[in-house]
Amino acid sequence: MKSLFCALAALVAVSPLCAQRYILRDNRVLNHADVTLKGANLVRVIGDGAEISYPISQVARLDWPEPEDIEQARQLFAAGKATEAEEKITPIYRQFAPFSKLPGSWWSDAALIRARALLAQEKREEAERAARELMSTSADPDTVVAAQLIMARVQMLLDKPDIADAMLDEIMRKDASSEIEARAAILRGDIAFARKEFEKAIEFYLQVPAFYGTEEAVMPLALLGSARSYRGYGDTARAERAYLDIMVTYPDSPEAAIAKTESATL
């Protein structure tokens, strides 16, 4: 009768779609809960202290839902809390490091958030190292391009807009996601702004609301750039409107606080 009840229970059971599993090359499956990582092996205890080791090299892919910490770190970063984002994401970055190149691994996502958080804190050397690691390790082309963009941004921290510009030319020769294109447009805007080419800067920043309207994560940054550039261009009315747009549409973003301060001096 036990099996009958199991069959009945299956009707309402939550499906195991959210399992955390390692899929081996021979299609065997290891549940994360059943193994521990020891050195270069996943180790399963089978009773009486006996262990079976599975070399990591035998893992073909991971079947793993997105860890909640990744989304939380993303949100912290978006709220301008780069230090907290770095703290939140670093354990995930380390957890998936042994599986960095495998399909289903969350390492690239974590490493990218971490690199961006380091950059936002202006930890230039660490950000540069993190970007280089991503470029050499990540198997995801979009993530590699995102890391290259971080490298270009580092050049801006070094006050070398010309080098950043040249790097961007190189980066944007490849196909990129709309998020990367939006970030590249913002960087180009920053370069033009640094050169006091305000008209050009406005045109770059406004590429984001014009063509990448769904890229909400970078929208406040683009609008802030446009507000500053309008100001440099001498169009205070539009600068004021852009500041207001940030404050109204993205009130919780770090750019909203900056917009409030800067618009007060218009």
Partner: protein
């Protein structure tokens, strides 16, 4: 098989065994076998047989219904589930039973029956979200949109944000759109935008975004913000295809994982079905979008149009540029061109606007939208002070599209543009052309009157009076009657027909009320008439009455100046000073208050009350001294400096006290200008230093002057300086070689104060910096802007010279020659600029080469060192070039004499040209016998 029907007897297999076999069949994925076995169990139970202990009928019914559902025997699943629900209405089994029943009904297209089943299922905490989702689907299918919307709203408020949630949100938006509830549809889309990563059906989202955007745009009044949000959710085709393929792969993987589960539930089976259906629908939508070559062009046009409507002209311009670049043959191109012109017009970027307009005319010369675009462009050019461009656009519009509806508008604008550009003859012709073409046109009255006004301003007063009278006869109730009658008086005054003017003005003043807006002007002209008649007291009375009427600032300034002039002619300095004092007191915020202070100081000084004058000037200056936007303050400070720079008068003993030291003057200035509140303000500090520098300048102490101005540049940031100071300080910093700081001053001047009377300092300064850097193209633009944009009030010579030397550096010799000749022939500019121009004209000839040109060049160089000796840098250059020209002509003795003559002028020794001359002498002395040089002429001799 567990049940065998024999011929004579029937062996009853125990129910526990049958249930065990059913379980085994389920595990072996033999759902049909299991279903038959479970039916057998139910049948025997119905006949009165008891189930084994621990097994409830409800559970068996549920398992049977579920199993029939798995094998798609929906009628049987429905029947079993209904049986179950007759006896089991609460608890887990009831919930599961309703789920099977609802889905079974729905899959038999019995949607209306399914709706209440799912409604009842909502009570189940386990199945609530699914129940809401299925209820909405069933309600939608059974044409109950309100029920579907209600279910979806409740679902979206509480369900986790996953692919099903996103699908439900899309359905809700679609339903709201169908119901015409646009605000709700918009809210739905905004909600979905917060979780776009959960949307699998991006193609569907794109279609909905476009539909919703169009509906919001076309609603009355249009919801532009909503439309923009909707369009901005739509992905361009390449992005859509790329992302949708990723999502399809994600959906297919999910479906595969569901299928791989050993035991799937009803909802999981349905989930697979839904995912597969979603994949199919998405692929189809993607295919459709892929076929539409104009997909992006359509999207971009909508986006650009909505941005433009909403005041986002910069964004619109970016989008239209891309549309026209990537889809030059798109159906939307005409509209895109027209709106691109408008976008550039709205952002004031007239050069880009011109380029867009040129492209528009080239691409679609017969477009019906062109006249409108030309009109918009002309208006924008006017707004940006580009009258040349405005007239060009109007001329093109009027001549190429004579029959267009906009031509009438353009013709009137052309007449107005000529008039405001002081091209009165052309204004008259344009107005006349309008009146001829549109005698009864909508602007005929305006054109008629404008023509008369142009005639008046052209000085043809008699003709103007005639034309105004014609206007008065044609439009006795017209808008310009009062003005026309007043202008007749003005024309009579211009003709010195004072009696007629007096009569006309008396009549005007009695016919129009005391608050008529032109009364002040009429009284002012009455004052002029009386003054013309020599009736100074009457004139003063009229001018003073005019002050009580409404006057523009120009007219007010005129009346005050006239009164001041007449009071001064009567040597009544006190009344004039009191008038200005009253003005400053009564209108403390008027821009003329600073002029008032200027006059008070000057008039009181004429009365010998220098100390009082300085005090009053200081008192007014302190009111505005912190505001860098008030550039008239510098004028006042200059006047104050002129009083402070005066030597003291002799005392009663006839002994003149020693002049105050610079320190004493500085202390006095500080006392007059600095107060407790403003003493730390950088603008105040700059203005104090400026006043000290002005005093030093008037006392011929140029070192001190430059030191003080230099301190302004070194110690005070450009944003604290007024336009006048930015120009002066920028120039000094440039002379001192502090080019970056100079650039900061010039940049701030042209960006912050583009309309300031001192803006030409900024443009010329930037032009000189670009010239120094060898960027001749930019230099030419800056020098030209100094004249065209800033009006070159102070720097016309420098700007013209800058243009000329830049053209020369760019080897545009003809254009450079014209400008240098213009400078050299201008008597007002005689001086170093003349020397430079004559020298440069020689250089142009030298560049052209040929013996005749070389001879002419020689004459130019010699003219410089003979006639403009004072300007040693050019004399040195001219000597050297003269010697070198002799050498090129093969006249070495003359060359040698020229170089030697140059060396005799000790003033030229510091110049590098002298060292070069010495080198040439050393070479030539080896070639030329001494006798030859004695016999030859050269240089000044």
């Amino acid at each position: 098989m567990v049940a065998v029907a024999g011929v004579h007897a029937q062996i009853q297999v125990p129910l526990p065994m049958i249930l065990g076999e059913a379980d085994a069949a389920i595990k072996a994925r033999k759902a049909a076998d299991a279903a038959a076995l479970l039916d057998m169990v139910l049948d025997r139970v119905a006949k009165g047989e008891a189930l084994p202990p621990g097994v409830s009928l409800a559970n068996v019914q549920l398992l049977a219904a579920n199993t029939h559902f798995q094998v798609q025997n929906y009628p049987r699943a429905e029947a079993v589930a209904k049986e179950l629900l007759k006896t089991t209405t609460t608890g887990l089994a009831a919930g599961d039973g309703r789920l099977v029943l609802g889905l079974s009904l729905a899959l038999q297209d019995k949607f209306a029956e399914a709706v209440p089943v799912f409604a009842a299922l909502e009570e189940s905490t386990t199945h609530r979200d699914k129940a809401l989702m299925y209820r909405s689907m069933a309600a939608q299918q059974s044409n109950q949109p309100e029920v579907a919307i209600d279910a979806l709203n409740r679902l979206l408020a509480s369900a986790p944000r996953d692919a099903d949630w996103a699908d439900s949100a899309l359905t809700l938006i679609s339903l709201q759109l169908q119901q015409g509830n646009l605000p709700a549809a918009r809210r739905g889309l905004e909600l979905l935008r917060g979780s776009l990563n959960t949307v699998d059906n991006l193609a569907g989202l794109n279609v909905l975004g476009l539909q919703l955007g169009d509906s919001l745009l076309n609603s009355n009044p249009p919801d532009l913000a909503g439309a923009l949000t909707a369009y901005r959710t739509v992905l361009p085709r390449a992005d859509l295809v790329r992302l949708q393929k990723q999502r399809i792969a994600r959906m297919e993987a999910l479906a595969a994982r569901y299928k791989a589960l050993s035991q799937s539930s009803v909802s999981e089976s349905d989930a697979v079905r839904r995912v597969e259906a979603r994949v199919a629908a998405t692929k189809q939508a993607l295919e459709e979008i892929g076929k539409r070559a104009d997909y992006d062009a359509t999207l971009f046009y909508r986006l650009g149009h909505t941005f433009l409507q909403r005041g986002g002209a910069w964004e619109a311009a970016i989008i239209f540029e891309r549309l026209l670049k990537e889809y030059p043959q798109a159906e939307e191109r005409e509209l895109a061109f027209a709106e691109l012109v408008r976008a550039y017009a709205d952002t004031g970027r007239v050069d880009r606007m011109r380029t867009a307009l040129d492209e528009f005319m080239r691409a679609t010369p017969d477009s019906k939208l062109l006249p409108q675009a030309l009109y918009v462009a002309a208006q924008a050019a006017y707004d940006r002070g580009r009258a040349d461009m405005q007239l060009e656009f109007l001329q093109v519009g009027i001549s190429r599209y004579p029959e267009a509806e906009m031509t009438e508008f353009m013709m009137l604008m052309q007449a107005n543009a000529h008039f405001s550009g002081s091209r009165f003859e052309e204004a008259r012709e344009s107005a006349d052309a309008y009146v001829t073409k549109y005698p009864e046109g909508r602007f005929a009255e305006d054109a008629f009157y404008l023509r008369a006004m142009a005639t008046l301003v052209l000085g043809r007063a008699s003709d103007a009076i005639k034309e105004i009278n014609e206007y008065l006869a044609k439009y006795p109730e017209g808008r310009f009657v009062a003005d026309g009658r007043y202008r007749i008086a003005a024309a009579q005054y211009a003709m010195q027909d004072y009696d007629a003017a007096e009569r006309q003005l008396d009549s005007w003043l009695s016919d129009y009320s005391s608050d008529h807006h032109q009364r002040g002007e009429a009284l002012s002209t009455q004052g002029d008439v009386y003054a013309g008649q020599g009736r100074v007291e009457d004139a003063i009375k009229s001018y003073r009455a005019a002050l009580d009427g409404s006057l523009s600032d120009d007219q007010l300034g005129y009346v005050l100046d006239e009164l001041t002039k007449h009071y001064q002619s009567k040597r009544d300095f006190n009344t004039a000073a009191v008038m200005w004092e009253n003005f400053a007191r009564e209108r403390p915020d008027h821009p003329f208050v600073i002029n008032a202070a200027y006059w008070i100081g000057r008039l009181r000084a004429r009365e010998g009350k220098v100390e009082e004058a300085i005090g009053q000037m200081g008192e007014i200056a302190r009111r505005y001294i912190t505001d860098p936007n008030r550039d008239a303050v510098e004028r006042l400070l200059t006047q104050m400096a002129s009083l402070l720079a005066r030597n003291p008068r002799p005392g009663p003993d006839g002994v003149r006290p020693p002049p105050p030291s610079p320190e004493q003057i500085a202390a006095r200035i500080e006392r007059e200008l600095v107060s407790g509140e403003n003493h730390r303000q950088p603008t105040v500090k700059a203005r104090v230093l400026f006043t000290e520098a002005e005093v030093a300048s008037l006392r011929k102490n140029t070192d001190l002057r430059d030191r003080l101005l230099g301190r302004i540049g070194d110690e005070i940031a450009p944003e604290h300086l007024s336009p006048g100071l930015l120009g002066r300080v920028g120039d000094l910093l440039r002379e001192q070689g502090k080019l970056d700081r100079a650039r900061a001053c010039y940049d701030h001047l042209v960006l912050r104060y583009p309309r300031s009377m001192y803006a030409d300092f900024g443009y010329v300064g930037l032009g000189e910096l670009a010239y120094i850097a060898g960027d001749y193209d930019s230099a030419l633009v800056y020098f030209t802007n100094a004249i065209d944009r800033a009006g070159a009030r102070f720097k016309l010579l420098e700007a013209t010279l800058g243009q000329a030397k830049t053209l020369l550096a760019n080897n545009r010799l003809d254009a450079a020659k014209d400008l240098f000749e213009q400078i050299a022939s201008n008597r007002a500019w005689r001086g170093e600029a003349t020397a430079q121009s004559i020298y440069s004209l020689g250089e142009i000839l030298l560049k052209r080469g040929g013996s005749e040109n070389l001879a002419q060049a020689q004459a130019h160089f010699q003219r410089v060192f003979i006639s403009y000796k004072k300007f040693t840098p050019w004399v040195a250059k001219a000597y050297l070039n003269s010697g070198q020209t002799f050498e090129r002509l093969g006249q070495n003795p003359e060359a040698l004499n020229t170089y030697r003559e140059m060396l005799r002028d000790e003033r030229l020794h510091p110049f590098p040209e002298t060292a070069r001359a010495r080198e040439r002498i050393a070479v030539l002395e080896l070639q030329v016998p001494a006798s030859a040089t004695a016999a030859s002429t050269g240089g000044a001799s």
